[in-house]
Point group: none
DNA sequence: TTAACCCTCATACTTTAGGGTGATTTTTCA
DNA sequence: TGAAAAATCACCCTAAAGTATGAGGGTTAA
């Protein structure tokens, strides 16, 4: 049962076309009976049929090929420059201070402790202290781990 | 001149259709003259016209609507689990070997040289050697820089 | 088969990173 | 205002990372 209704639904256009064609033939037959007497009306008749059925063909083709849209998948935003959204919840949860975050960021781009110290105008020992606290809060042992974890938690880009 | 040829090229299908239609009408006219004497041949004639021109209409519609492709933008997943595509070009350009890449990957997840050595069943010195070459090829001085650069170049995820 | 890599390992040395402890100053907030 | 938190710095020590050099074995392609 479901199959039958499904078939009808799917071929609605075809069936409609068939019915329309039959109706048209009847109409033409009637026209034939009426105007067969008129001389040279035959050309008009044939032309009419041609035009009408061409139109029908076009309509049919358009109906049947309606979903003729070539689907082109376009990956928007494939690249790296992903928008970074700082995970402030994690930041407060881990109780990481501004300065510590600053050190962490500089660390993540590959700077040494000495370079970070110079950049932040503090001593090397200060950076080491920041690091120690940072590692404790992030529960890691090395700076590379700290970077990995921080990136995973969206604390740094 | 250019406009004319351009017009001809663009409307080739339409012109072809017109010519074909004219030829067909001539053919039908000829058929009419030959078989008009036969009784009830008219129905066959009309049917033929209907079928032929329906087919023509379908063909025409398909021809004219072929380049009508609708572009559908589809962004595939915006979230974090971004598919990593290894940049093999950069890899070959930098002349980084398989083993070096392996070390680089383990390095990037925060492992120490000793841990990498244990994981790869080689000595610590071997890892150090790999590192030295890696740093040379990536033109960096530290492992954190190496990780940063490698990620930027899509050599590691 | 030779040259060119690649992977391996070693030794020796320097530099950097990290741990532990303690202390001072500044900021912040209740 | 007074305590907590944050930021600063020092010293000592160990661990890890990084540099330099040499060298042996395996694979591969000219």
């Amino acid at each position: 049962m479901a199959n039958t209704s499904n078939f009808l639904a799917k071929n609605k256009s075809v069936i409609l076309y068939g019915v329309f064609l039959a109706a048209l033939l009847f109409l033409l037959k009637w026209l034939e009976l009426r105007f067969i007497i008129i001389n040279h009306a035959f050309e008009i008749y044939a032309g009419s049929i041609a035009v009408i059925f061409t139109a029908l063909g076009i309509w049919l083709a358009l109906k049947l090929t309606r979903p003729k849209t070539i689907l082109i998948e376009k990956d928007v935003f494939t690249g790296k420059p992903e928008a970074f959204i700082l995970n402030e919840k994690e930041l407060t949860k881990l109780n990481i201070s501004k300065r510590e975050l600053e050190v962490l960021q500089l660390m993540s781009v590959g700077l040494s402790n000495q370079e970070i110290a110079l950049k932040l105008f503090v001593s090397l020992n200060t950076i080491k202290t920041h690091n120690a606290r940072l590692f404790g809060k992030l529960e890691v042992k090395r700076r590379t781990q700290a970077i990995e974890t921080a990136k995973r938690l969206c604390i740094i880009p």
